[in-house]
Amino acid sequence: MKKTLYDKIWDEHLVHENEDGSSLVYIDRHLVHEVTSPQAFDGLDIQKRDIWNNNSIYAVSDHNVPTQNRASGIDDKISKLQVDTLIDNCKKHKISYFDLNNINQGIVHVIGPELAITQPGMTLVCGDSHTSTHGALASLAFGVGTSDVEHVLATQCININKEKNFKINITNKLSNYVSSKDLILHIIKEIGTSGGTGYTIEFTGDCIENMSIESRMTMCNMSIEAGAKSGLVAFDSKTHEYMLNKKYSPSKKYLDEAVKYWENLVSDHDAVFDKILSFDATDVLPQVTWGTSPEMTTDINGKVPNPDDENDSSKKQYIQRALDYMGLTANQDIKSIMLDKIFIGSCTNSRIEDLRQAAKIVEGYKVSDNIKQAIVVPGSGLVKAEAEKEGLDKIFVKSGFEWREPGCSMCLGMNDDSLLPYERCASTSNRNFEGRQGDKGRTHLVSPSMAALAAIKGHFSNVIDFANEK
């Protein structure tokens, strides 16, 4: 039978099929962070259960850690307790942990791939919804809650129902200065935040084939914003190259065997998908979200929608509520939106390629006077080191950006990096929900180069026009 990539990884990890249609699926890798794990370790202790395989687990603190003045440790006592609890749990159970001063510390979804903890064909879970990111390496990865974190710690398996197959095919090339962030926002705008619910999405087409692994990660990362727990991209020569010479790449002894296995990690020709949609990359312009859901997106030349244009009363209210929260008026030009803060970072856009794109825009310019704060938070110690090697940090600092230590930072504002009430931010993160970046804060999701341009202009502007005039 013809199989999709998802079918193949699923079948390969099937341990047991229950009568009710659910299945026990084996998990190869388990990534653990400080916020969603303490209750899981506690649960094991209470039941006196052991961890099934501590070698399959890698832990890091990323969500609530400070991104500056780390030498003095964590000031916030409650945050410190949470990080210390993870350290204690890792010591107790002999789990690999990357501490704050380790160059391998970083956002869990950045370090997994860059250390080759994540490998093609693996199943991977983490107590974080953006675990979908790892699907860019042809691995089946999805976020789980704390009960499932505990379940995987204890059994190395998860008991789940199989999702349906959804293929999103993207043809042609993205325009210069249009990134995969713009493409995925454009797709979410079309299919909505629940368009992928119940599905695993595989991104295909020549646009994806020509995309770097990092750009593919941005696509898969935001699959969850379309409702799909997992995004996938087939294995190819780029994945192969990416997997080499990393900290946890397969050893020489097994590499040829592994590559041979990985080469089968593509959907069979004529495999059956439950749903297929096609997009043309040349249609995609730089995107800006105007509302409080990632589906509330328009392109840079667009306007804030007018609720009165909607006939359906609940849709009308949905838009009006978002405009009220965001402090925007109907029909306002996106380019007229003035900003207070700029955040370049998060598991969506904090990799070296993202930082290069942003640096390219800001080089030789100053952050606009109306911008109170502009920060760049590299995704990991390795990304930070590479950026510094390339001199990107100097470009950012010279322009007026702050150059920080790795972590989730202002994507969710669990540490000190957050918006004050009513502050407006151009952010390269993934969620523009009410209060996400800070109580009453206003988030506009954009690509790294669009955020960089917003920093120097003080308002949104079209990065394609800017680059053409430069």
Partner: protein, 214 residues
């Protein structure tokens, strides 16, 4: 046959795409416990002043928010719109709902991770048709004291007007609500099968099981 009946006042929350950030904001995720999240449920909608885990002063109530309006404030069943629970995988959202006293949520659809987390904690989620949902919302507007009776074994919801709606639920989810069983214990019944699978894979894909090189 063992059954569970959930009966009580409905809390009408007519919005779609309610995300888990709204259900429990990030500052409360710093807790390392599973309990005590109830007072922070829908925190930024429920109160007009900011709070966090160290807040000791009495919070200012947002009198316009549904959970602060009688008779909804004593409700145990939420009625809401499409895609409830989207976004972050934080199970704290379910812990907060349960701790507040919510026993069931009725909507047209739910986000996947939230759905799993809910049943893992014995929180019943029911999907019904859009027209049925809209009808219930209309009826609550007319008579705010609106009690539903949910019979899980029979898969029915009975309204105050004695109208009965049926809903679909898988057998395993149904059992999860009625028996609240321990999923890990159930999975560990297949311990030997997991071990056999693992040993086979160690031979077939040895690189997956290579020991950490640090």
């Amino acid at each position: 046959m063992k059954n569970k009946i959930i009966e009580g006042q409905v809390i009408p929350f007519d919005q779609s795409n309610i995300d888990t950030d709204a259900i429990i904001p990030k500052q409360y995720l710093k807790s390392i416990k599973k309990s005590g999240f109830g007072p922070f449920l829908f925190d930024s909608l429920r109160y007009t002043d900011p709070g966090d885990l160290s807040t000791t002063k009495k919070r200012n109530i947002n009198s316009k928010f549904v959970l602060n309006i009688k008779p909804y404030s004593s409700g145990n069943i939420i009625l809401t719109n499409d895609n409830f629970g989207c976004g972050s995988s934080r199970e704290h959202a379910v812990w907060a709902l349960k701790d507040f006293g919510i026993e069931a949520i009725i909507s047209t659809s739910f986000a996947d991770i939230f759905y799993r987390n809910s049943f893992k904690n014995g929180l019943l989620l029911i999907s019904i048709k859009k027209d049925e949902l809209d009808k219930m919302f209309r009826e609550i507007t007319m008579s705010p004291k609106y009690n539903l009776t949910i019979n899980i074994q029979n898969q029915t919801i009975t309204t105050p007007n004695d109208q009965v709606y049926s809903f679909a639920i898988s057998d395993s989810d149904k059992e999860r609500i009625i028996f609240e069983y321990d999923d890990i214990e159930l999975s560990l019944k297949h311990k030997d099968k997991i071990k056999i699978y693992e040993d086979r894979m160690k031979l077939l894909k040895p690189w997956v099981f290579e020991k950490n090189n640090d």
